[in-house]
Symmetry: C2
Subunit: 346 residues, 2 copies
């Protein structure tokens, strides 16, 4: 047990026979403090490992240098990655990150957001819960001038900066890639269409086919829950078709895993007989056999972008602020499940 007491700026002042203002200024390299006293004070502070009290400083300064992040769940891979990006930019800029989870409950989200007003955070980055359909509970925050950035799942009725992913584009390049691999009859595992992301992805699929002059066949579009088990079952149906697809673009990766599993059982070769491209680039994509081609959403980049935009807004209080929507382009990660050409050439 060294010293249990916290050492404050006042202690230093007393010990060194000066005043707290001088100590404060010396520690912050104020020009009007002589070099000697500055050194003397800094030396003392270092030796007694003084650290300014965070609460006092932030109370006085009106800023806690803390950004709040609201996510549905912290242990969903996508959000964990986004958080990684946010944290990186935040700590580069000397901001703390306070994370809160809604657990996809609107009630919890409302309470959490309310508790954030006043001092806890200087700004908020949020991805709303699945139950959230309007942004009423964000209004007080916005009115009080707390900068807000929404990402991934966003709201139309709040006029703030947003960072989203171009789902349409992601689907488009996925399908384009399959076409480039020589596929002619490309099917689609579509998610529930009341969710915007799945709607956009389907549209991207359709547009890619159209632009390539390929015929759209409704029988090749399977709208379903995109889980492994369903992928498995649908593949069974596909196998019985008299004119089956030679490729599938799936709106997520889990359905692909199931489909590939069934394909293997049925002796259908992937990608030779049927190629697959998924969406989301889940970690398992490079674990399974064959590895799965997918669309990388760059969650880390998303987090970084959101954090950058928020910090920009927080620090630039002078110039008028106009919310903007940043749309990130996802990218294609080619793996074995769609790589027909190189297999042919080998």
């Amino acid at each position: 047990m060294n010293k249990k007491k916290k050492i404050t700026i006042q202690d230093i002042a007393r010990e060194l026979n000066t005043t707290i203002s001088t100590v404060s200024r010396a520690l912050r390299d104020h020009p009007r403090i002589s070099v000697e006293t500055r050194e003397r004070i800094k030396k003392y502070a270092l030796e007694h490992d003084y650290q300014p009290d965070f609460r006092a400083a932030s109370l006085r300064q009106g800023s806690a240098r803390t950004i709040g992040v609201l996510v549905p769940r912290i242990d969903i891979h996508f959000f964990a990655r986004v958080l990684r990006g946010i944290d990186e930019v935040a700590s580069e800029n000397n901001y703390n990150v306070l994370i809160i989870q809604s657990l996809d409950s609107l009630t919890k989200e409302i309470n959490l957001v309310k508790s954030l007003v006043y001092g806890k955070v200087d700004g908020l980055i949020a991805s709303i819960s699945i139950e959230t359909h309007d942004g009423e509970h964000f209004k007080p925050l916005i009115n009080k001038g707390v900068p807000l950035v929404l990402f991934d799942k966003v709201l139309d009725d709040v006029d703030v900066t947003k960072v989203i992913i171009d789902d349409h584009y992601g689907a488009y390049i996925a399908v384009q890639h399959l076409i480039n691999q020589g596929c002619k009859r490309i099917g689609h595992f579509a998610g529930p269409q009341y969710l915007n992301i799945y709607k956009s992805r389907k549209q991207g699929y359709l547009d890619a086919l159209k632009d390539a002059g390929l015929k759209i066949e409704e029988s090749l579009i399977f709208e379903d829950m995109l889980v492994k088990e369903r992928g498995y079952e649908i593949m069974g149906q596909v196998h019985k078709m008299e004119n089956p697809p030679d490729a599938i673009f799936s709106s997520n990766d889990f359905a692909v895993v199931g489909a590939i599993m069934r394909a293997k059982e049925l002796g259908i070769r992937v990608p030779q007989d049927i190629a697959f491209t998924g969406f989301a680039n889940e970690p398992m994509d490079e674990i399974v056999d064959p590895t799965i081609s997918s669309i990388e959403q760059n969650p880390v980049k998303m987090g970084k972008e959101a954090a950058r935009l928020l910090i920009e807004q927080m620090e630039d209080k002078k110039t008028a602020f106009y919310p903007k929507t940043v749309t990130l382009k996802p990218s294609l990660v080619v793996r074995q499940s769609s790589l027909k050409k190189s297999i042919v050439s080998v």
Copy 2:
């Protein structure tokens, strides 16, 4: 734009012709405030959605009701799950959670810990970086009376509460399970032995064999880096052995994925010809085919336990505190890769 101004306790006092102390007490249901004034003040506060300034309150009270969590990386599944558990207990108890990542850099860890002293957090839950070999940088924190709980990767030279996993037990029950499935020649994929966790797991493996009266064969123990690629290669070697094992207990799941992949290529059936049990219960375990039996470390429980212990220590400042080490028992999750018996009986 409603009201941009933050409303404080003073504003309320002014408007209601009373004093700030009365307002403060009224809002906190102090008995010495008459029911009428209390109601009057509460009503006003509610209507103007007053929220106490977090910084001012915590400065005055000496507590920020915030617990810090230090992890190597937030986007590692295990840590994300632990964080989930911590957050759950923390928010039940009205604590905020401030997350910091060391990114497995000791330098970063030291700086982060230093920045936490004084006011930012009232307590810290930490899992050290891979570069950390002593707890010198935690000493100032401890000396200043900031409660600390270490989890998962812990240090011997700091005398604080620790939450760890019983690796030996996990390995033991995994091997026991293989024995129960009728396996007689059980091999082991051992990780690098300079890491405690892998050493304990190997010992658990050895003890389980010994206790079951099974012979230990050095040739069945493969000490290697536990990645998918190495698992794949080792399986190749195993296949060439004249007396190959009928089961493998692996110290992680990735090596199992590789091994199973190779086994399938070689026409070795899993689990009929060779059974597998991994360790860590990675999400992919139920994705791959066959699904992989593994040891669940219960990270969420670990987080909850750590948070509970920390809060207990933070709030119970009166009674003398003695650090304790809590060892969590992992559990076995049986899946296809090790389930010989039921396959036989089907």
